[in-house]
Amino acid sequence: MTTTTIERPEPGASAPLISVRNLTVSYNVARTGKTLTAIEGVDLDVREGEFVTVLGPSGCGKTTFMNVIAGLVKPTSGEVLVDGRPVTGPGPDRAVVFQDYALLPWRTVFDNVKFGLEMQSRLKGDGWRDRVQEAVELVGLKGFESSYPRELSGGMQQRVGLARAIVAEPRILLMDEPLGAVDALTREVMRDEIEKLIAATGKTVLFITHSIEEAILLGDRIVVFKSHPGAIKEVIETGLERPRSERSVQSEPRFLELRDHLWEALQHEATAAARVAGS
């Protein structure tokens, strides 16, 4: 994956691109008849071009949070604004990279990437073929265009998921633990690649993870979630220089300081969650 770095928009220069206001989502659990609050009272502003990582223990509602922004889940109360307009459903300004890849198994790599354009009726003219091909090559899958997803490794499948999101040219990229199901070695390689790729495209990213290192390495800001109910515990600016690479960043004092801090915060959360689960 070779990319050239272009200027990232200066954060904070304009109104926030994503604005989450007092967001609460609760579900009625049919089996027990109880109401389950997934997230409660979440407020967050994300500036254009910002890379925000969302960190939290499993079951803290971070995926629900992302699904509301994607337009897949309706808020119970509060609202999400994208570019000043309330989100009422999915839209071409947002694309999602899923943890389980969510590739169509009956489509080849090329046709899966094409899907990102196809559903938005953007296959008119001739230009789309080049754009799909470009996206395939950008994620390093040249030569695999006619492979089926199950013929690829997990890491390669997620590259397809990434290409499908990028080709749609969204302003906002929502990534739900995209490297969660990928093996450790591939994960490290792909972190660096995602960092470079996003830096090159200047997209606004919301990246969900439960890996502390990943949250620090990728994020301009880290949003830490707590569970039961899911809510924002704290928001931290990483303040690390870009471009970053896994090896250079991990020896910086700021990285170590953040890691210790987040460890402590999450450990507290994890024990609290275990207590709730046990009670």
């Binding site: 899923f98 990102g116 559903m119 089926y148 013929e151």
Partner: protein, 280 residues
């Protein structure tokens, strides 16, 4: 104790894995050769037990060579061709009807909960009833010609197709549907580009079951009260103690059934190449 149990646990496994891996390592031609040797051995033993040593009365269980002779007689007299043609006609019409009705109704059932609630229990009840129970009724409804045979073939083939298609629709991955929605698929596009392709492997699984059940339905219908068709041929031959001819007719039916399941698999590989199993 633990060493003993370890030996017992691993012993047979090693042997089985050895044979399995030897078989798995064979080429397509090699596997065919193994199968041919297997069949040949079986036939030789069978011929020896019945034909040479006379351990079983050949009227009850004719030897392979007798069956081959019976087959020759059936071909020579023209009764095989005549009966097979009638069976083939009934089978193809009945199966086509089952496909034409089963696929759309299955899609409706899988796509709509109310339809599923109404049609589902009826479908399962008919599916669960032994085919032969419908035979007297079907004669009352459709007379003594090819009608009842077509009816039983259709009833037998319909429900595996219908119920599998419905199951395929229902088990469409929620994650793929989310992806479809995120990238802007309309309701119609979700059906056409996510639900339908997801259902294809289920459809073919249903078709394979339907082939076997349709053949059973056909033979059952022809055996009871029909004067023609492979089922009638089997009954007539058996009733006149020409068991060699009866067995020959049974083999023809079996070969038809097995080759049609192979045809379904071929069509699947051709139209849905993504379902081909990955080689491990």
């Amino acid at each position: 104790m633990s060493a003993m149990s370890a030996i017992f646990a691993s012993g047979p496994n090693i042997g089985r894995r050895g044979l399995a891996s030897w078989l798995a390592g064979l080429s397509a031609g090699g596997r065919a050769a193994v199968l041919a040797v297997e069949v040949l051995l079986l036939l030789v033993v069978w011929q020896l037990v019945v034909g040479v040593w006379g351990l079983v009365n050949p009227v009850f269980f004719p030897a392979p060579l007798d069956i081959a002779r019976g087959f020759g007689e059936l071909v020579a007299s023209g009764s095989l061709a005549a009966n097979a043609a009638i069976s083939l006609q009934a089978w193809l019409i009945g199966f086509a009807l089952a496909v034409v009705v089963g696929i759309p109704v299955g899609l409706l059932m899988g796509g709509s909960l109310p339809v599923d609630k109404v049609v589902g229990p009826i479908a399962w009840t008919i599916y669960a009833t032994p085919t032969i129970a419908y035979q007297p009724l079907s004669k009352a409804w459709f007379g003594f010609g090819i009608g009842p045979v077509i009816f039983l073939v259709t009833v037998s083939a319909l429900f595996p197709i219908l119920l599998n298609v419905a199951a395929g629709m229902r088990t469409t991955s929620p994650s793929l549907l989310r992806a479809g929605r995120v990238y802007g698929a309309s309701r119609f596009e979700l059906y056409r580009k996510v639900f339908l392709p997801s259902t294809v492997p289920f459809l073919f699984a249903g078709l394979r079951q339907a082939v076997v059940l349709a053949t059973i339905g056909m033979v059952v219908a022809e055996m009871t009260g029909s004067s023609s068709g492979m089922g009638a041929l089997i009954i007539k031959a058996a009733n006149t103690y020409q068991t060699d001819q009866a067995f020959a007719a049974i083999f023809v039916v079996v070969i038809w059934s097995v080759s049609m399941t192979q045809v379904v698999s071929l069509v699947e590989r051709w139209t849905a190449p993504w379902t081909r199993k990955a080689r491990r």
